[in-house]
Amino acid sequence: MPLRHYKRWAVALLLLVALAGIIVDAASREAYEWSAFRKYLLDGRVIKASLVTLELTLLSMFFAIILGVALGVMRRTENPIFKNFAWLFIWIFRGTPVYVQLVFWGLFSTIYKEVFIGIPWIHFGDFSLGFHLTLSQTASLFWIAVLGLTLNEAAYMAEIVRGGLLAVDSGQEEAAKSIGMSSLQTMRYIVIPQAMRVIIPPTGNEVISMLKTTSLVTAVPLVTDLYARTRDISNETYNPIPLLLVACTWYLFYTTILMAAQYFLEKRFGRGFNRNAVISA
């Protein structure tokens, strides 16, 4: 006779009953306004806004991963300039709230109306060593939001990458050197692919976290994302609760897709670490 888990069954049953109770109650509660929920869930404006949120998430993560890998590798080099620069970057962007950073980037073009890039104080008549960059007040709010989210996220990614690099045995680097690989080649072909196994799970976490952090872009102020859009709609119709539920449903929908993507990535980079792995050419 196999072991019977009576207590597990009892607890599971209890939880199911409680869950069913909550669902039945919610279905009949007027405040949720399910008719409005159904009406706005697939509303064109909501779908469009959800795509803006997805774009913000993917673009910011894409740039943050590149910058984070660069910073993570820089922190590990022996070059003191790289090392300290990376430390300073992480210190600032991890040490201040992302909401405040987004407000700052939104105000950037007000604070710095014009940026001069070059060597100051040296003029030959109208000619100077460098050029002036006029920051337009109407710079795309979308790209300011991407910039703000990227810089903040890169600091976290850098720490994740550094952790991943530390997890790779130092013998790997020696073996790569012994066949004549340069430091860059060793990083690219040997260390980073192995570090990926350690880097991907927390990165997946960061992507999902980013999806939700995008709701703060209203600080820039960007108001075309999912949360701001649903809030705007509800401001007109005076029914915030069903639209909150609409936003949550869309966030959950994308989170589910991202989780599936993470599962396949983890499988891909886990190659060679599982004794029972299928042998493929």
Partner: protein, 250 residues
């Protein structure tokens, strides 16, 4: 082929190598034996500049390792210049250090493809031939985790040989292996020695040293205590420390 002259190295205040000198002629096999902590592995790692030396000179095939001599002074090489020197020196590690995310074949040809920029098809042909040579032609698509320790070490030897090195360094290649797997690895090394490869082997395998080595160096506490032919050092040791060590391992 290898001429190490009075090598000194310290970790902090601890002197690991004290005036270690060693010469190996082309085609010869030198074995370095000695108790653990005697500095033999450190010395081996100095030969391909995985460790920096504090004083002395190491010549491999007439080239100073890790330095450039000009106007009677030694200038330290850039990391990228040291990388180029290492291409000609193969190394086999105690813990194999195969790349776990690559198949056996990809391990062997990693250097050919990324360092020597050989065409992938051509590299694969060479790689398969090398795996055949170490008796693993049928394991080319296996990942290291799917191979035994002895098989992994033989892949590691093939990986080093792929770069067509002038010199092969072995750092206790059989110490991490189950006893029944040692023989296969030693056989591959014997075959390699028979082809005229210059080899320096740090080992505890006295039988291998006696049979294959042209010279044996006994190291203890960072010093070469005794050196000579296997018959001299293993058969008729002159120093008390050598005799004491051999009485424990033989």
């Amino acid at each position: 082929m290898v001429d190490a002259q009075a090598i000194n190295k310290s970790y902090g205040s601890h002197k690991v190598l004290k005036d270690v000198s060693l010469t190996v002629k082309p085609g010869e096999v030198a074995c370095i034996i000695g108790p653990s902590g005697s500095g033999k592995s450190t010395f081996l790692r100095c030969i391909n500049h995985l460790e920096k030396i504090d004083a002395g000179r190491i010549f491999v095939d007439g080239q100073i390792i890790g330095y450039r001599e000009a106007h009677g002074k030694l200038y330290e090489l850039r990391e990228s210049e040291a990388d180029i020197q290492r291409r000609d020196i193969g190394m086999v590690f105690q813990r194999f250090n195969l790349f776990p995310h690559m198949t056996a074949l990809d391990n062997v040809i990693a250097g050919l493809i990324h360092v020597q920029k050989v065409d992938k098809k051509k590299a694969e042909v060479e790689g398969l031939a090398l795996l055949e040579r170490v008796g693993l032609g049928n394991k080319s698509t296996h990942f290291p985790s799917q191979l035994s320790g002895g098989q992994q070490q033989r892949v590691a030897i093939a990986r080093a040989l792929a770069m067509k090195p002038k010199l092969m360094l072995f750092d206790e290649p059989t110490s991490a292996l189950d006893p029944e797997l040692v023989g296969d690895v030693l056989q591959v090394m014997k075959d390699l020695a028979a082809t005229g490869m210059t080899m320096i082997v740090v080992t505890h395998e006295m039988g291998f040293a006696r049979e294959v080595a042209d010279s044996v160096f006994f190291m203890d506490e960072g010093v070469v205590v005794e050196s000579g032919t296997p018959d001299q050092v293993l058969g008729n040791p002159q120093e008390a420390r050598t005799r004491e060590f051999l009485s424990k391992v033989l």
